[in-house]
Structures are given as C-alpha cells and as structure tokens.
Symmetry: C2
Subunit: 228 residues, 2 copies
C-alpha cells in the first residue's frame, strides 16, 4: 500500500490540457493576479517543472487561457464558428445575442475579465477570434440602414464589452443568490438594448451636442477618423 505518486502517462497534449484546466479554475476563482504557476501545477496534480515545460511563464499561461475563453465566448454568443461565416448581418437576433453575452459574462466573470484585459492591451486585437467577429459584425451592421448613422464600431464594441464584463462584478456584490443574479443579468441586457435603440438623451433637447456629434454634412456620411 505504498502510495507512490504514480507518474502521469507521457501524453503532452493531455498534460497541457490538465494544466490549462487548472489554470481556468484558479483564474475563475482568484482572478488574473492571484495565480501562480506553482499553484496551478499543484491543483493540476502535475509537477511544477512539468508546468514550466509547457508554459514558460505565468503570462503565457494566462494568454493561453484567454485564447480558450475567446473560443468559448464565440461559441456561446455566435454559435458554431463553422456556420457563422454564412450568416448575414441582417438576420442576427440582437436581443438573443445580447442575452447570451450577458449570461456568459455572469457565468464566467473573472475569465471574461482576463480575456478583456488581454484584448484591450493587445497591439493586435484582430488576432482574437471573438473580437474579430464581434467588432466585425458591428462594423458590418453599422454600414446598414438598420443602424444609426456615424457609429464608431470599434469604440462601441469596447463600450459594450466593457459594460458586459464589468457588470457582473457589480452584480455579484449585490446579488443574494442565483435568481437575483439572473435578474441582474437581465437588467443589464435590457438597459443595453434600450440604450442601443434610443440612447439616453433626447436629441431635440441637446442641439449643440447633436451638432458636435454630427460629423458630416449628410447623416449617412462616413465619419473621419484620421483627420489631424
């Protein structure tokens, strides 16, 4: 009955996955900064040296986790990546999409935050699949007649995602139990949709602001970003 710490069967892929899974668990619990390679290795039931072999540094481990989150986000919000490419912007159900984003954020608050921070700090956000699709579809939508004129899709995407991924922090601090959390998620989604439809200020009451915001002579004109 000598419990030899039996050596894990030599399977790099699987080992890497165990480590990643442990990393996810800890990241989801303690957030991006309360995590160490040692801890992860311990939880994964893997030698620390082994963990170092797969992920040279903590940063790379976090990056890898963020990539995983991006995929899950994609799946949860847009569905199967294989079938998404064919979908046209016009047929997307915005309310559904908002709900799914809000729900996923509520279910994985820390992981989403990790992903968001990685993305925002990245010099090349276009490399991220979820961002690519989210911002991209927003841009495509902005070009349609269904969208308000002069939308800055990139900024709007950041605003939406920032709200969606920080709201859970508030929600967790204020919700007593699971049902309340569901309600708060819904409340966010509702306000998000309401804001998208009507804004928060009546334009008639703010002629000067309206003038400032109007970028071109005609409502549908493209807004200029690169003007010095």
């Amino acid at each position: 009955m000598v419990e030899r710490a039996k050596r894990r069967p030599r399977d790099p892929e699987a080992t890497r996955e165990v480590i990643l899974e442990a990393a996810r668990t800890l990241l989801a619990k303690d957030g991006p900064e309360g995590i160490s390679l040692s801890e992860v290795a311990h939880l994964a039931g893997v030698n620390r040296g082994t963990a170092y072999q797969h992920f040279e540094t903590r940063e790379k481990l976090i990056k890898a986790t963020a990539d995983w989150v991006s995929d899950k986000l994609f799946l949860a919000v847009f569905g199967d990546p294989a079938t998404v490419g064919e979908r046209r912007v016009e047929e997307v159900d915005v309310a559904e999409l908002t709900d799914r984003l809000s729900d996923f954020a509520m279910d994985n608050p820390e992981l989403c935050r990790v992903w968001l921070m990685q993305l925002l700090a990245s010099p090349d956000p276009g490399a991220d699949p979820f961002w690519r699709e989210y911002c991209g579809s927003l841009e495509r939508f902005a070009a349609t007649e269904m969208a308000a004129p002069d939308v800055d899709a990139e900024v709007l995407a950041v605003i939406n995602l920032a709200g969606a991924f920080l709201w859970p922090v508030w929600a967790r601090a204020h919700a007593e139990g699971a049902p309340q959390r569901v309600q708060l998620a819904r409340r966010f989604a509702d306000e998000c949709l309401r804001l998208s439809l009507y804004g928060s200020m009546r334009p008639e009451a703010f002629p000067d602001v309206a003038e400032r915001v109007a970028k071109g002579p005609r409502p549908m004109s493209r807004r200029g970003r690169a003007d010095s």
Copy 2:
C-alpha cells in the same frame, strides 16, 4: 559628511501623505496587483514599520488610494464639491462632462481602474462620493423630460464608467504618442455622446426589441426592478 539617514520630522499627517503619494505612483505604474507595502515604504523613503503603522495591510492602502482617486475624479469632472450641490441637472453641460471624464481617465488609467474595481466590488457604492454624484445626477436627469424614457440609471452609469475607464487601456496600446492619445480620448467622448443621443440601432428596424424594452404601457412609466 556622514549621511545619517535623517529622521523624518514627527508629523503623522505628512508621513501618511508621503506614503499615499508613493502608493499612487506605484499603483499608477504597476496597477493594483503589482504593489507591496515594502516597495511603497521604500519609495516613500519611510521605514517599513512606519508604513505598517499607518496602513495595517495592503488592502487598506489601496482602499485609501481609491478614496483619494474618487475625490480627484469628483473635482476633475464636477468641479468643486462645495458648489455642486446647488447646480441643477438641467444646466449641466453633458459634452463638457464627458470630455472631462474621458480626459481624466486617459491621464490616470490605472488609478481609475483601481477605483472602479473597488467601487464595483463594494457592497455599498453609495459611500463613494464620485459614484454618489455621478449615478445620482444620472438618476435625476433620467427623471427629466430631456432624458429618454425608462433609463436604468444605475446600469447606465456602470456602462459609461466601464467604457470610460477601460478605453484608455485600448488607447494606450494603440497610440504612438501623446497627440494620438488625445485624439483617441476625443473619439471615445464623441462616440459616447453619439450613443447617448441616438443609440446605435434604428428603433423602427427592430420592432420586437423595442417591444421587449418597453417596460410599461406608457413611455414615461417607471420601470419595475423588484418584480419577482
């Protein structure tokens, strides 16, 4: 020429301030998690024991810094707290306010994030002066005829602040120099105002979403939060 590490004149208030200042510097540089009491004490030129005397733990130091940020935010966005109480919601210049918020966020990205996280995670946000005024004025505004109907001020406040304080992360990663950063700050403020005025989707094109969002029979009805 013996450089005795000359003892700091006995002035608790001043010492506390030196420590806080050092904490701010480090927080602004490394963010909330890359900070230690030792480091702060060292930078402040204060004995570690002294630092521990003023702030028992790292958390309390961060909390104290967040409080300071709240005050500065208030000053930068709303102006002198003494004269604010008298101002009526109708006479607030929203564009000015948005610009000031955006600028302050761009100038103090990490500090703002520290504050925001503290606030969101706090069970009693109402204790924070800036949040009190920001969310409060939004609520008061929402009650006027100048606002769109059915605004959920609390959610909207979180969305706005989350956007304002996370946008700088994106901006820093993409701006080459100071002028570009100014431009990006402006771009955020513009989109923020545009969104507030017009939303992003034409309501006529989304009748079902509009129906979902319409909470009451009449447009001005109060939305129900506490319905089970």
